[in-house]
């Protein structure tokens, strides 16, 4: 990836309507390393679909989406998976496997994509757990955790392993108030080392306190993605 190249770039990307339900309009977005783009979207499902679009999971009928200079559509499965392993993501739905305990769910992507010693992974996850208010790592099944604990666990998982891009769906309604500040701090620390952030929000209350640090503000509607003035 070139030094001044965009981290994530959607250039007239028109998603396949059949597979996404997203309007087949051209989407344009450009996030440089360290930038934070906030996208207003009231519909959770549409936000999740757009997040999928940015991670190359939805075929395009036109245009291109590049992440770290690589076009998703030209990559093979193994390359796609490896590249997606560089993205930290918070999802609202379908992101917890009931087969494993929450601790394994948190560490799973990192254990899958890296060869870091297991102890180091546990140590890092526990540290992040402390940051987000856990006494350690929750080992119970995810479906037994409260919404607030799942939101904390989602944050721990997303920030694990120095991701290059953070795609954060809005969990502000579940995240406990005392965790908001650590969330901003961890996000800022990630941005400082060059990580881009794509942050979906439902209302301005979710990002109000962070607004000065936001570089791009857009709105995702049925008709497409529209640029707004950064406040």
């Amino acid at each position: 990836m070139a030094a001044n190249a965009p981290l994530l770039e959607l250039r007239d990307a028109v998603p396949s309507f059949d597979e996404s339900g997203l309007m087949p309009a051209p989407y344009n977005l450009r996030i440089m390393p360290g930038e934070c783009a906030v996208i207003d979207c009231r519909d959770f499902e549409r936000a999740a679909m757009f997040a999928d679009l940015c991670t190359g999971m939805i075929p395009l009928t036109q245009g291109s989406i590049k992440f770290m200079g690589l076009d998703w559509s030209t990559l093979h499965d193994r390359q796609l998976n490896a590249l997606r392993g560089r993205i930290g993501r918070i999802s609202r739905h379908g992101s917890w496997l009931s087969l494993f305990g929450t601790h394994l769910n948190i560490m799973l992507p990192h254990l899958y994509h890296t060869t870091d010693p297991f102890e180091n992974v546990v140590h890092r996850a526990t540290e992040l757990g402390h940051t987000f208010g856990f006494p350690g790592l929750p080992i119970t099944a995810p479906d037994r955790l409260s919404g607030a604990d799942l939101a904390r666990a989602a944050c721990v998982r997303a920030f694990m392993g120095r991701p290059d891009l953070l795609i954060l769906e809005d969990i502000s309604d579940m995240l406990p108030e005392e965790t908001v500040l650590p969330f901003f701090e961890t996000m800022t620390a990630a941005r400082d080392r060059g990580c881009g952030v794509l942050w979906f929000v439902r209302s301005s209350a979710a990002w109000h306190e962070y607004r000065k640090a936001v570089n791009i503000h857009m709105r995702l509607l049925d008709e497409g993605l529209f640029s707004l003035r950064v406040v």
Binding site: D52, G85, R89, S91, G94, L108, Y112
Partner: protein
């Protein structure tokens, strides 16, 4: 305003055929095209049905090859994959052990004691070993082991993966760059393969042993247990040493693969009520097909 919509396919076919045919045969060709046009929907329906029925077989062949090929890459056996393999292996062997022992005991009671009794009655006691190897170990064991494997663990895998697909967890895995085939299908299939072999061997030994105990107690067999097992082993041919483990291995492999693939290919219209019967029927079919293929060749 003229109608510019294209004619239906049957009419297109008949018009093309009519244009291609020489003028003197136009009447016959027209009749032929009409005939084809009449049967085209039926042929299409048969084609659709055939494709639908063959789809699972083709998926199974492709996924089987993919599983074998991927398993040879050291890069495929990452930590979550190994974890999944161990967890499934524990479930397959631990979950099926008691069922296998009980079923093997019952099968042993029926087959060994009956064979020993009737062969002794007919003055063919020396055939006991070969009859037991042929009937119990080579033919009955793989089928029963396959059915237990499917009932105890295959249906569980099918349901787990199917519900993960319907709940969006599999898509969530993909979004994090975790290949569901590598993370779920491959380790589970190999766990079933190892489990099939282990449970099959347990089944064979327990069934023979329990059969011997009953037959010995009833006086149908008077030799020692060592002589009995020696006779059984002596009755086995070189092929038996290859085929019997191979059957257990293949039954395990295909039951596991079939369950995982069935789970991974559920559609949004599916529910538990549609997933389970389909998976059960496919599992039974796979167990029988593996055994029948061996029966044909050997």
């Amino acid at each position: 305003m003229t109608d510019t919509s294209p004619p239906p396919p049957e009419q297109q076919a008949s018009s093309v055929l009519a244009q291609m045919a020489p003028p003197e045969d136009s009447k016959d060709t027209g009749r032929f095209a009409t005939l084809i046009g009449r049967f085209a929907p039926w042929l299409a329906a048969i084609g659709r049905l055939t494709r639908h029925q063959v789809r699972f077989t083709l998926l199974l062949i492709g996924a089987g090859w993919g599983t074998l090929r991927e398993s040879l890459r050291p890069n495929s056996w990452r930590r979550p994959v190994i974890y999944e393999f161990r967890a499934t292996l524990r479930q397959v062997i631990g979950g099926g052990f008691l069922s296998i022992v009980i079923t093997a005991t019952l099968a042993g009671l029926m087959v060994v004691s009956q064979a020993a009794y009737w062969l002794g009655y007919a003055g063919m006691a020396q055939m006991t070993g070969s009859i037991l190897v042929s009937v119990l170990v080579r033919e009955i064991s793989p089928i029963l082991v396959g059915i237990i494997l499917m009932g105890r663990s295959g249906m569980l895998s099918l349901t787990e993966i199917g519900m993960m697909v319907l709940g969006g967890e599999v898509r969530g895995l993909q979004a994090r760059g975790i290949d569901p085939f590598l993370a779920l299908v491959m380790p589970r299939t190999f766990a079933f393969t190892v489990g099939g072999f282990t449970l099959g061997m347990i089944f064979a030994v327990v069934s023979l042993l329990m059969g011997f105990v009953v037959a010995h107690a009833s006086g149908a067999i008077t030799s020692s247990v060592w002589t009995f097992f020696f006779n059984v082993l002596a009755a086995m041919t070189t092929w038996d040493y290859l085929i019997i483990p191979l059957k257990f291995v293949l039954v395990g492999f295909f039951v596991g693969l079939g369950a995982c693939i069935s789970g991974l290919t559920v559609s949004s219209n599916d529910t538990m009520a549609t997933i389970m019967p389909r998976g059960f029927a496919r599992g039974i079919m796979l167990v029988l097909v593996v055994n029948i293929l061996f029966m044909l060749d050997f």
